[in-house]
Amino acid sequence: MSYIFKLDMIDALSLGSAVMGSGGGGNPYVGALLLKNAMERNHVNHIQVYAAEEIDDCDTILGSAGMGSPVVGVEKLPNGTEYAFAVKMLSEYIRKTPSHISPMEIGGINSLVPFICSTYLDKPVIDGDGEGRAFPELQMTTFSGFGNKVSPVCVVNEHGDYAIVESDDDHRTEKMARAITLSFGGRGYISLFPMGGQDYRRACIPDSVSRAYEIGESLIEGYRSKDAEDRLVNSSGARLIYRGKITNVVRRTSKGFSHGYFMAEGSENFAGTSIRIRFQNEFLVAEVSNGDDSWVTVAETPEIISVMDSESFYPVTTERLKYGFRCSIFSIPVNRKWFEVDYKKIVGLGNFGLLREDSEHI
């Protein structure tokens, strides 16, 4: 069902995106400010959103996102036009005018990016994406799972410089786009995954924007009525997998990603146990131990792992983890679309070097 997105929905969408981002996706605060400013600047007070099922076969859909270092993202801010420019240059390159803009992922800033685009291009946004959460690399999508190519990708910077990356191989596309992003000062603005209506409908995760919005809205309501946890569970199907206190955080950075794990000791029903959660920008796998040295997996990619501050019930991103932090950890089911594709090959633990046999090296 199509609906109208308004200024007063930004905070809920950005909060819900942070919950669905599985600890990653960058700083939603910057995204919310950018979108508010873009709507004001372009005198846009509503943005049309279409459900995936409303897309026609003859429609052309382009994805829109930011990529690169979230650290650079909080220092060198966009001027706001970059995302739309990437879409424009990609559409010139493929000689097709997009009918709709789609989020690539839900999480942090990236669920808001298509809306920023839309205020400049006057194109509607689709209530759907390629992940239903956030993942670190461009090809880690159901779009790819159904055989669509990331490429051609247009990577843009704030000067209006752009590069088109084209390859048959999604991994090489990702590598080249990341290298260009680095040469742009660590942050690039991209348009990618050009798709026809039929391919998009088949490959996308439907209703993910409204799912993020509903989760955000119910949390905001829950902060008022002091029952945020119940509302989170009801709105997202979240399952509490742990409650406790963080006892250790180990992090290292390589190849442009932040890798590591954190551990927590349990409280309430979880007293006497510990949990270990590994991440690469996003939380990927949660394992619980009863005190002996054996670890049992309780949640694993592509399932969403959401770490919430036990007190405020705000979602916590990987870069903010620290000792002593009281958290409630939930697993939130991803859309079943992921299980229609060979998800292990795209986003399974092996893609992160986290399969059992090599997990000891982390």
């Binding site: 400010l33 400013n37 270092s69 650079v72 920023i116 660590g186 990603f257 870069e319």
Partner: protein, 517 residues
């Protein structure tokens, strides 16, 4: 003999002490904190001068920890008229300055804002050339309309060149009387938060100047002319008046750090958790190598997100005047009215002080804990004390940085209430003079400076980067009033910046030394 005065402005009381060279407390004084703050400080100085008598000729320095800056912001009063410059184009204009500020502050401060071309990448390369012409015409257009300028450039903590050049142009056009803050002198990563911090620094400079002139006037009447005036900084050190005028944001949390620092001075323990229990709140901080641990999260000041170095403090609404209602402890407090309203003082309100006195079977001069016991049964009081203790246990545990047991130091007027045992504490210390820990912290602090710089270890050798930072920190400490020959490097911290290639590292160096008297 060489005497020093420390004055600390708390939310309820303004405290002052006189100490001698050996750190002994000779005199103390206490006044109600006044709405304008200054009157309370002047009052404390006056009564200390009286107590000193002819000894006051031996006074060499006065150190003040005050919250004037935060008050001025929250009341939108006595602030400078400012111009705000952001050097970032073509990046950055998607979120202009003053995003999400409280409307009253924004309205007062945002009359003259410009964004111009310039700024740097994380590598130190230019995003674009600095647009000097745009700056010149902007500064000409605001001449006579502003008191201060705030200048922020992208990645200026990696390369400050554009800020320095813009500052020189502003000085050239606007003259010597204009106050200029460059963001790389204030904080680092996070453009919006650094810009906000820089704006605040420019805005509250006038408040600082006013405090100094009022204090100077009082000092001139009471003490010899050569007395030096210092202000407590957020990091537990002090800085001379001229330096504090240049960087007033570095003093806004002075009083909070003073009690953490005072806990160290009174006990000699360098690493501990400190509970400062006042009249309405408990501030929990951490001592690391004798100084307050810094917060790693952005701190909001008067509703504005900032990122300059602030002490890592959790405040909970639990102090000596906190009122008890059934099994609810606080958040309301009778504050300074405790001696009239508290049950054990003869009043009719049950407070945390009353509960603690009754259970510890202890009395102050003007209390009688039996008045508490006659109206409440012991089981109920036990339960209430358990709830209070639980709150302290929790905040203590949240502030610990590891699983190992650490010492706990309790200071402040309410420190007598502390429970005898804390889970996770290796010992509990309530030192003599705990009540004056904050003023003692102010009086005994040394001059210090912390400098933070960003380097790529792929292009700059690690030891050269560290040396460069140390020398910058020493220069700065000298400006803050330190005797250079006494400066010691207290701390070197290297934090790698996630996601950035080229081995990007933030190096911060803290130097501490004696004041130049």
């Amino acid at each position: 003999m060489n005497l020093k005065i420390g004055v600390d402005v708390g939310s309820t009381y303004t405290d002052g002490v006189v100490i001698d060279d050996s750190g002994r407390i000779l005199h103390n004084a206490k006044e109600m904190t006044t709405f304008d703050i200054t009157t309370g400080i002047v009052g404390v100085l006056g009564s200390l001068a009286t107590k000193l008598g002819s000894d006051k000729d031996s006074l060499s320095a006065v150190m003040i920890g005050t919250t004037h800056g935060i008050n001025a912001l929250s009341q939108v009063k006595s602030l400078n008229r400012i111009a705000v410059v952001r050097i970032s184009l073509p990046s950055g204009s998607g979120i202009p300055p003053f995003a999400e500020w409280p409307p009253s502050l924004r309205e007062y401060l945002s009359s003259h804002v410009i964004m111009v071309h310039g700024g740097h990448e994380y590598t130190g390369d230019e995003i674009s050339e600095l647009d000097e012409n745009a700056l010149k015409s902007f500064f000409r257009s605001i001449k006579g309309k502003v008191d201060a300028v705030s200048i922020t450039s992208v990645f200026s903590f990696v390369n400050p060149d554009h800020e320095l050049r813009a500052g020189a142009i502003a000085r050239d056009i606007l003259g010597d009387d204009i106050f200029i803050t460059l963001s790389h002198n204030i904080s680092s990563l996070g453009l919006l938060e650094r810009e906000n911090s820089t704006i605040i620094n420019s805005a509250i400079e006038k408040v600082m100047r006013n405090v100094i002139s009022a204090t100077r006037k009082t000092l001139g009447k009471l003490f010899p002319e050569r007395v030096k005036l210092f202000f407590s900084q957020n990091d537990g050190t002090v800085a001379e008046e001229n330096f504090a005028t240049k960087f007033p944001v570095f003093t806004v949390a002075g009083p909070i750090s003073n009690s953490v620092r005072g806990a160290f001075v009174l006990t000699g323990i360098e690493d501990a958790v400190v509970l400062d229990i006042g009249g309405t709140t408990t501030n929990c901080g951490v001592l690391t190598k004798g100084y307050p641990r810094e917060s790693s999260n952005p701190v909001e000041i008067s509703g504005v997100k900032t990122n300059f170095r602030m002490p890592d403090i959790i405040a909970i609404p639990l102090g000596g005047g906190t009122t008890i209602n059934g099994f609810n402890v606080g958040p309301l407090s009778v504050g300074y009215e405790l001696p009239q309203k508290g049950l054990s003082f003869g009043g009719d309100i049950l407070t945390t002080t009353d509960v603690s006195l009754a259970l510890k079977e202890h009395n102050f001069e003007n209390t009688d804990y039996r008045k508490v016991l006659s109206r409440n049964n012991g089981e109920y009081l036990d339960k209430v004390y358990e709830i209070m203790s639980g709150k302290w246990f929790e905040v203590f545990d949240r502030m610990k940085s590891s699983n190992t047991d650490v010492p706990l130091i309790a200071v402040g007027g309410g420190s007598f209430m502390i429970p005898p045992g804390f889970p996770g504490a290796s010992g509990i210390i309530v030192p003599d003079g705990a009540e004056y820990a904050n003023a003692i912290g102010a009086a005994t602090s040394q001059v210090g400076s912390v400098i933070e710089k960003a380097f790529s270890y792929d292009t700059v050798q690690r030891n050269r980067a560290i040396e460069e930072t140390i020398s910058a920190a020493k220069d700065n400490a000298e400006l803050a009033g330190a005797d250079r020959s006494t400066l010691e490097v207290k701390d070197i911290e290297e934090v790698s910046m996630p996601y950035l290639p080229g081995n990007s590292v933030k190096v911060s160096v803290r130097v501490i030394g004696k004041m130049r008297l």
